[in-house]
């Protein structure tokens, strides 16, 4: 089949070096029309860097990338746009003061022969906009809404919606599905199928092996910035790929040791919580217990997480920590009550942009590392290096966190909170964008916490993760708590059905669960 083999882009000896880091070196890679090329690699392997170079966001420091039907190598974003290359950034780039609709049609503002600055700005007709939004599962979001008010998951999908209206021949998805649920992945799958049919060359970056195998035709594996191998998906399996990525086999994830929390007083008790999109949510988390919250994007998981940890003020309901009812006006207050919250919104709330890893890692615990308000430098330094070790952050204490790869940034965010050794730990998408190896490491850390009788609440979009990581899993649908499972017994199908509203029966035993709690 000719089209299958038509090369759309070809990278030759591409390398990229940042001050002090060789992010990418000597990569030769082709993208073919109507084919999905997955790129796998550990955190910091160079996936996003390759994506950015391909999309002309940054010039390569070695080699060149050529695109079919485009004479000279792609240099700047506008040109890449014209060459028909469309990049979905790992951190979704959305114009916050524009409406959802304007963001969908953003490409109409790009520079190019076809677009004159003084020509009238054309907004896409509403049907097309709504259709594009529906395609990415944002059907319920009004096109007139301000993009700045969307949740991270929604922003990610909004960025993706551009692909439905923007003409392109190469589509790059850089961890677009990092925080989306299986159900949302279905949308993505449909989209990609359509793209393939249309003869687009799709580049798919993800740390989720099942997704990689479900979508891709070929898998390129990066390691330490070098291209290790390119495999045909049909002829390989997850084990081989991860082995190539990490450099060694990965032990299978084990279930957490059964917790000894039976009959213990709840460390976190939530009653009749109304917040964001969550309505009347009640549940307990006991010390030594890891409880998961599963649900679709927009189901209210983050709203719950945010409002039990002072990030957002609930409209109604009570939160008890260690048996005492508390109102946490701010994250600071929550911290004083021993409650910490890992945000899902890394770009906005995750870390301080201008800070080095050291400064970010010690930000939360700084008062404890100080006497009379003066920081004890030596303590700070030793503490920081210890955290970097423990969480396998690739980058020294002096590296600006901004310069880290997505996954490594996530590790920094997680580490800074756990350093405060809190009693109640709320984690929103803790393994978002984290590679298989490190993910295992983080699971172990979380299990370690439960061993120390900490109460852990995990918001996750992966049913599998929910079952592997947690003792109990709560399922939210449209902001309501609809089901509760013992992770040992339940299957991913159970969770998904509950989240989608498959079986009414689950609703009832959720009620019981609610009473029991």
């Amino acid at each position: 089949m000719g089209t299958m083999n038509r090369v759309v882009f070809s990278a030759r000896g591409v390398g990229k070096s940042y001050p002090g880091v060789q992010a990418l070196s000597g990569v030769d890679l082709d993208g073919r029309a109507g084919e999905v090329l997955a790129i796998c690699g550990a955190n910091g392997a160079g996936k996003s860097t390759f994506a950015r170079l391909l999309a002309g966001q940054e010039p390569p420091s070695a080699g060149e990338i050529r695109v079919a039907g485009h004479p000279e190598p792609v240099a700047d974003p506008a040109e890449a746009d014209r060459a028909g290359i469309l990049l979905m950034h790992q951190e979704p780039l959305v114009v916050d003061d524009f409406t959802v609709a304007e963001n969908v049609w953003l490409y109409r503002l790009r520079s190019g022969r076809d677009i004159r600055p003084w020509s009238l700005a054309r907004r896409g007709d509403d049907d097309a906009t709504r259709q594009a939004l529906r395609d990415v599962g944002l059907g319920d979001v009004a096109p007139t809404r301000l993009a700045g008010s969307l949740a991270p998951g929604q922003r990610q999908m909004l960025a993706l919606a551009r692909a439905r209206v923007t003409p392109h021949q190469v589509l790059i998805l850089d961890e677009t599905t990092a925080s989306t649920t299986e159900e949302h992945f279905a949308d993505v799958q449909e989209m990609v199928a359509a793209e393939k049919a249309a003869g687009t060359a799709v580049v798919f970056v993800s740390h989720r092996m099942p997704e990689v195998f479900a979508l891709s035709d070929r898998i390129a594996v990066l390691r330490g910035g070098r291209l290790v191998d390119v495999l045909r998906t049909a002829g390989t399996d997850a084990a081989e790929v991860t082995a190539l990525m990490i450099g060694e086999g990965v032990r299978a994830l084990e279930r957490p040791p059964a917790h000894r929390a039976e009959g213990r007083a709840p460390a976190l008790a939530v009653r009749g919580l109304h917040a964001g999109s969550a309505t009347d949510v009640s549940f307990d988390v006991r010390g030594g217990e890891v409880v998961g919250i599963y649900g679709l994007v927009g189901s209210g998981r983050s709203s719950v997480a945010r409002s039990v940890s002072g990030q957002q003020q609930p409209r109604a309901g009570t939160v008890e920590v260690g048996g005492r009812a508390v109102t946490m006006r701010s994250p600071g207050a929550a911290l004083r009550h021993g409650v910490v919250h890992l945000t899902e919104d890394r770009r906005r709330e995750g870390f301080v942009g201008e800070f080095t890893n050291a400064e970010n890692l010690s930000l939360v615990t700084l008062p404890r590392l100080a006497t009379a308000g003066v920081v004890r430098r030596r303590d700070e330094r030793s503490r920081v290096t210890e955290l970097i070790e423990r969480f396998q952050v690739k980058g020294g204490p002096e590296t600006p966190t901004r310069a880290l790869s997505g996954g490594n940034q996530q590790k920094v965010c997680l580490a800074k909170w756990l350093a405060a050794d809190p009693d109640v730990i709320v984690l929103d998408e803790p393994t978002k964008g984290i590679d298989v190896g490190a993910r295992l490491n983080i699971y172990e850390i979380i299990h370690g916490l439960s061993q120390q009788d900490r109460a852990v609440l995990v918001v996750t979009s992966e049913a599998e993760e929910a079952l592997l990581l947690c003792h109990r899993v709560l399922v939210l649908r449209d902001g309501r708590l609809v089901a509760e499972f013992d992770a040992a017994e339940a299957s991913t199908e159970d969770l998904m059905r509950a989240a989608l509203g498959g079986a009414a029966a689950l609703g009832s035993d959720a009620a019981q669960g609610g009473d029991a709690a």
């Binding site: 780039l93 190019g112 677009i115 003084w118 009004a142 700045g148 551009r162 906005r348």
Partner: protein, 332 residues
Amino acid sequence: MTVTEKTVSAAPSEPAAWAGRGLGWLRTQYPLLILLVLVVLAAVLSDAFLSTRNLENLVLQMSVIGIVALAQFIVVVSGGIDISVGSVLGLACVLSAGLFGGASTGLAVLVALGTGALLGAVNGFLVAFRGLEPFIVTLGMLALARGLVYAYTEGVPVRPADPAFTLVGTATVLGVPVLGVIWVAVALGMAFLLRRTVFGRRVYAVGSTPEAAHASGVPVRGTLLAVYVIAGLLVGLGGFLLASRVGAGTPTAGTLFELDAIAAVVIGGARLSGGQGRVFGAVVGTAIFGVITNLLVLLNVSTFLQDAFRGALILLAVALATIGRSPARRGR
């Protein structure tokens, strides 16, 4: 800081959308309310205020600063700030009156526009292509332009030869000063440019989220350069109009205009971090200041107290004008 935002945004989509529009509404309407209150107040306190003569004066006094405020507005929307407007206006003012002995008014206009555009281009280049801070760049330009004014005039006002020079600045059509007409025209043009054209949308995008704009192929640098040039043109125009109104290019022309212009723009609802604001707001903001100043004179308030009044009123107006507005999010 974030709390407000979150609670706003955490609302399910429909209401949030409504809130979004609601906020936009508030942003532009509060200033209007303030203006109305002021006008009523003025009318009550001084019967001279509503006299056609005084209203005419009011328009005359607001027009030039109003045009400068529009220049400031487009810069602010692009996420920058231009504190050199006053000095650049001064330079355009004296040059338009002085070069070629101010023999022909038409030539004077060209000189003024040229001066403004040139200095604007310098600002724009340093901001867009050297990535320097707009504030500090225009601060340098502020001193530079004013210096050139003194170097050129040696402190002596320049009188243009052409007797028709003062025509534009003083004539009226059907009782409305030509200056006012020009101001309104510029405002309408600016509104159209920013709201309807591709360029305008680019300016908002660049001002709101530069990375996103850059990543989606918007020519950020070119847009910024254009913004400062346009601002320069308007300031230059203002310079000519002032010269034409005064009948001479005075070396002190435009002093401290930058502060009034910025204040007007912000009170009009624009956000200094960029990407937000309406032209109409800038116009209303200018009017608020015009009325305040005019009123203080009409009431013959002691010169020693006027500044204090102005300051207090600015604080009050901003506090009111920003009611229900989420705190400026420099975070993005």
